[in-house]
Symmetry: C2
Subunit: 482 residues, 2 copies
Amino acid sequence: MTSPVSPEKPRGFIDRTGAQADAERAIVEKVGAVYQQWGFERLETPAVEYTEALGKFLPDLDRPNEGVFSFQDDERWLSLRYDLTAPLARYVAENFDALPKPYRRWAAGPVWRNEKPGPGRYREFWQCDADTVGSASPAADAEMIAMACAALEAAGVERGEYRLFVNDRRLLDGLLEVLGLDPRQTTARVRVLRAIDKWDRLGRGGVVQLLGPGRKDESGDFTPGAGLSGSQIESVISFVDPDVAFSGSPSMKVDTLRSHPLAQTEIGRAALKSLSEICEGLKSLGRGAAEYQIETSIVRGLEYYTGAVFEAQLIGEGGTNFGSVGGGGRYDGLVSRFRAEPVPATGFSIGVSRLAAAMQAQSQAQERGPVVVLVMDQARVGDSLAIAAELRAAGVRAEAYLGAGGMKAQLKYADKRHAPIAIIQGGDELAKDVVTLKDLKRGLEISHLAGEDREAYAKLREQVQQEVPRAQLVERVKKMLS
Amino acid sequence: MTSPVSPEKPRGFIDRTGAQADAERAIVEKVGAVYQQWGFERLETPAVEYTEALGKFLPDLDRPNEGVFSFQDDERWLSLRYDLTAPLARYVAENFDALPKPYRRWAAGPVWRNEKPGPGRYREFWQCDADTVGSASPAADAEMIAMACAALEAAGVERGEYRLFVNDRRLLDGLLEVLGLDPRQTTARVRVLRAIDKWDRLGRGGVVQLLGPGRKDESGDFTPGAGLSGSQIESVISFVDPDVAFSGSPSMKVDTLRSHPLAQTEIGRAALKSLSEICEGLKSLGRGAAEYQIETSIVRGLEYYTGAVFEAQLIGEGGTNFGSVGGGGRYDGLVSRFRAEPVPATGFSIGVSRLAAAMQAQSQAQERGPVVVLVMDQARVGDSLAIAAELRAAGVRAEAYLGAGGMKAQLKYADKRHAPIAIIQGGDELAKDVVTLKDLKRGLEISHLAGEDREAYAKLREQVQQEVPRAQLVERVKKMLS
């Protein structure tokens, strides 16, 4: 006999089960229903694409092609998708003439990143995206933001428990122009964007280093900086500092920005015009300062964004920030990789696993398993199957025990399943045409008394276990569960 | 500028969109809800596993390791899962002590096969599985079959439109023993099973060849046969011939089989005992001849089944058979690859894409898109956004047009979206505080009259287009849609 194989998963991958998996799937269903209601069409592209069709838009990576899982087939390289946007661009280009334009689609599914795994950082996770391709109108961006609000609310995040932060990357381009830097100097621009994006993690000090000469981290690794001068750094920092609170409405914030020197640049003016129209659109859609804010520090990691960017954050009690649970923005260059003409697009992506984890951290919901019907006599397993079927027909989640264990093993099984009730019909019960219902939740609550106060325990045990007529089984179980 | 990338998918992969994608997802939701109701827990394992953890259980393949997509990471080989059962075995072995036993789980997700694609044969498709691990009881098999019935019905296949075929592979082992063949002669046994499994595709003649010396197909490829003698072949054929109809109940069929010589073998007796208990269990669960039959020709392609096997088929009008939409069976060896002790298990898998395709082939449902609110003046796009929001709040799927086209382009867009209604509020309508509702479906119906009978057309056009007071917008739209 060969030695047994070791049962293990590749590192960075996890199994999701029970309530955790249900929560993620419920988010996808609820968010998808909102996207659908807003006129978006479901699209499911393959997990696998030609590597060259995915392109080099991988987020947060200095070495773009290294973050994907790739393999060869028929001499061509294939990769697992790293997001749902790159496959969308391929799909739109492939079906350009047949698609209605603007083309609105939504999609949900796993994506894969061949990155170093870390705490809470997995190599496979779900996204749930909506995109509008072929509209340059800021109304399309406004729609994305308002729909993100509706999606979060449908997923169970109440108004006031989340905030959408909105920015336009061209504001920073205007600022760089004012500071005498050419925004077409791609390397410096990208380094400035990345530096700002790291504020949450590194704080002001780290960002100052990354805007200037660069930064050496604790491990000794050196990240080259954007090479800005001291006064340039000061201007950027004071423009993006997220700690400078602004209490007015989003459109007041846009008005305030109009007096900044960047408003004199062409690109800065375009950004402000777009932001202003987004605010108007959101007003028409019934959304205001309670749901979103203009926030100049939001840049988003993905390099392909070209204008407006959005980020959704959960706000816990006392203002605790659970961090980003989704984001998006305008990307006008992605589809044009496949076609000569530019195709404007805007989108929003919800990080399903992250949102589920953040919501679970806030709630204390108890997992509830099925009602378990015990089997006291293997020759009568059919009776237990029939009782479970009867309960299911009445809408109760129920199952019969199908192992080979005795009474004790079966009750232990029911506990492991988080069963609220165990149903017992042994020979005595059968003769009397009754069944015993055991309230396992109550049983657990009083179990500590067993050793402390035997008399009280014996009394309370009656609440836990009751005989009911067989004919009243369903009714009594439903009452116990309600 | 670099030349544009070609927008194409790897061969054998498809995009699913709109009604087709919705149909597949709806099946997963409805089937999953049934599994959940029966006490099964959702489990989501990664798409990627260590190649050696998946093992060599790939179905229908003479060269087991070649049917998977594999790649190297950190010097170890990873593969995309080819089904949901092999990852389940890994999960159970990895968490054996913590899991309740029997362990019931369900799972849904894509699986990948690195096979030659063909018509209707893709390299990525969805499965939706339920498995009970740790129960050797035929009651667990009965539960699988009854739950498959409930799942198909929940997915929209009515009673009488499907049939579950049930068999036990050990019947064949008993038959081989009676014929003087050692069932432990793995190669011959597997070839017999594979030959029978090909009845649908090759017919009796092809099966006879495969049971005997072997078969050369049209391309000249030779498949070696099981090497049975003429009389042995005759015995096998007469035992499994699916064309010999049996009109009695499943338990009558079991009784009939008891008089077959294979009932004298130990393994044949075990199979009949198990089938008999499955019939009893199904009776307790309220299922009978209308939903399932014992059918000795069902073997299922997967080599890992060890006893009972099931297959679900859709029956069209006039008895048309749409083929298998799901299957399963008992596999007692899969988990034991990882552990010394044997772990009995049984499961059922629904082929989601196949079921959706078969159901779609039977129905003629028309796709219906969202209500589209046109934009007659770009400066008033906010009004259109607000109308769409108002309709959505009333439960109507609606969107505003967000492109840059004129009236004609917008109506063409609405047609492409399969929009039932277009809503128009130009300057005139605004002044009168009305909106125009255009019934696009009715418009399409009468469009042929335009060239034939202009008078009748002009009259009917009034039905197509109507002005309604702005305040009655929602009410009138809902009436038009109902």
